[in-house]
Each structure stands twice: as C-alpha cells, then as structure tokens.
C-alpha cells in the first residue's frame, strides 16, 4: 500500500497543545474527505493519546510529544503519538476501562475511547524510555468520490 502524504508535528507537553494537536491532525486527514463523524472521532482519539503523554509520560515537567500521520492509497490514515517519558509498566492493565493512575480528574477511559473510535490501536512502551501509540482508521469512500 502506498503512502500518499505524511506529516510530523513536535509539541511540548503543555495541555494547551491538546486542542492544537487534534485540530492539526483533523486538517491533515481532510485530504481523505472524511465525514464529520469520522473526523470528530479521530480528534477525540488524538486528544486522548496526547493527554496521556501530558498526564502520564511527563508528570513532573515538560517533554516533547511527536505526532505523525500518514495517509495511504486505500483511504486509510495511520496516526502515531510518541513520547520519551516515563513509559507504562503494564500496558494491558493501562488499557483496561476505568483504570487510571491519573488522579480523580481523570476517568480511565482514554484507551477505551481510542479503541472505540479507530480500527486498530497498538501501544508499545518501555519503562523509562517512553511510549508510542499507533492508531489506524479507514475513511469511508463516499458515493461520487473518485
């Protein structure tokens, strides 16, 4: 499958950048002519992943979050969100609904939302080295397109 376009965004882990990251990805994905629902779901998934970096990867300071997106010829998008932060000891546990180490202003539903709103989600993490979340979603080809 051919990569038709790609982008890379590096942002410091400040919460004000959550909105910027999801909007930037949404703008980029617009090339695939997604429905509003598809676009909103991707924005929510990106928001969850970036928030995880801010809350969990760099709890005591500011680090770099790298957001990459690639568009493919089959009208799918792959989005990866990587940090060089604390890492996750137990990825399976972290992905369980309602599990959080983030305090009571977090719901523990971040990974559940990412899973619900994308086709595939993979999480690679090494304690002390960082985490990379990769999501993939096929955008529907609408009647009359192409």
């Amino acid at each position: 499958m051919e990569v038709t376009n790609s982008m890379k965004l590096e942002i410091p882990s400040r919460s004000v950048n959550e909105g910027f990251a999801r909007s930037a990805v949404a703008c980029f994905v617009c090339h695939l002519d997604p429905t509003l629902d598809e676009l909103e779901d991707l924005k929510a998934a990106v928001s969850e992943a970036v928030t995880n970096c801010i809350v969990h990867a760099y709890p005591d300071g500011i680090g770099i979050i790298t957001v990459r997106a690639r568009l493919f010829s089959d009208n799918s998008v792959e989005i990866s969100i990587r940090d060089r932060g604390r890492g996750i000891e137990d990825v399976a546990k972290a992905r369980e609904p309602m599990f959080t180490t983030g305090g009571d202003d977090r719901s523990g539903m971040g990974f559940t939302i990412m899973e619900s709103f994308t086709d595939t989600l993979s999480v690679r993490s090494r304690p002390g080295r960082g985490t990379c979340v990769t999501m993939r979603k096929r955008i529907s080809v609408r009647a009359g397109q192409r």
């Binding site: 919460s15 004000v16 959550e18 909105g19 999801r22 629902d37 909103e40 779901d41 924005k43 929510a44 928001s47 969850e48 928030t51 801010i54 809350v55 609904p97 009571d104 202003d105 977090r106 719901s107 539903m109 971040g110 559940t112 939302i113 619900s116 709103f117």
Partner: protein, 104 residues
C-alpha cells in the same frame, strides 16, 4: 471553554460551552465544586447543548460533579448532549450510572 452556572430554587444548571478536554476540565471541576459548596443545590443539571468537542475528560467532569452532589444528598443528570460527546459517553458506558439525554 466557558461555564455558565445558575441556581433557581435549589436547582443548579451548568451550561458547558466550547471544547471540553483535559486542558479545560481541571479548571471546570474546581469551579463546579466551588459553586456546589457555596449554594448546596438539591439538583444539578449539566446542560451540554453548547459543547463543540468532548473527550474522556468530560466523563471525569460528570463523575466528579455527581460525587460531590451525592455527598450532599443531591441528584445529578446530564441533558442536551450533542452527537459527538454522546458517542464518547456511549463508548464509556457511563449511562449505566447517571441519567443522560441527548440533544433533540
């Protein structure tokens, strides 16, 4: 994000406007709890009609509000949820523990 909070005959209405993410949620939770503590309402309605984006941070706002209202013996529900926030709430299964109605 903006919050508009009013109280009429011990019924508190919280209108959440704009985008509700982690950045907005931390300040929002504090303001809602301060308002509850100041007015001790019997009912609290979270009106989501003005919400343009929500991620799972919104779930935490709802649950924290419900927890504080439970502590003072009050009731909480969520009204007028637009389609995108509704999909987030549906995915979370939170409707099993709090009454939620979508936007007409």
């Amino acid at each position: 994000m903006d919050l508009d909070m009013t109280i009429t005959e011990r019924k508190m209405t919280v209108r959440i406007l704009g985008e509700l993410d982690h950045h907005a949620a931390r300040c929002m939770i504090r303001r809602i709890e301060e308002f509850i503590d100041a007015h001790l309402p019997r009912d609290c309605v979270l009106d989501m009609a003005g919400l343009t984006f929500m991620d799972s941070s919104g779930i935490a706002v709802i649950l924290r509000t419900q927890k504080r209202m439970n502590e003072i013996g009050g009731r909480t529900w969520v009204e007028n949820v637009p389609p995108q926030p509704m999909r987030v709430l549906d995915a979370s299964g939170i409707d099993r523990i709090i009454r939620i109605t979508s936007q007409n």
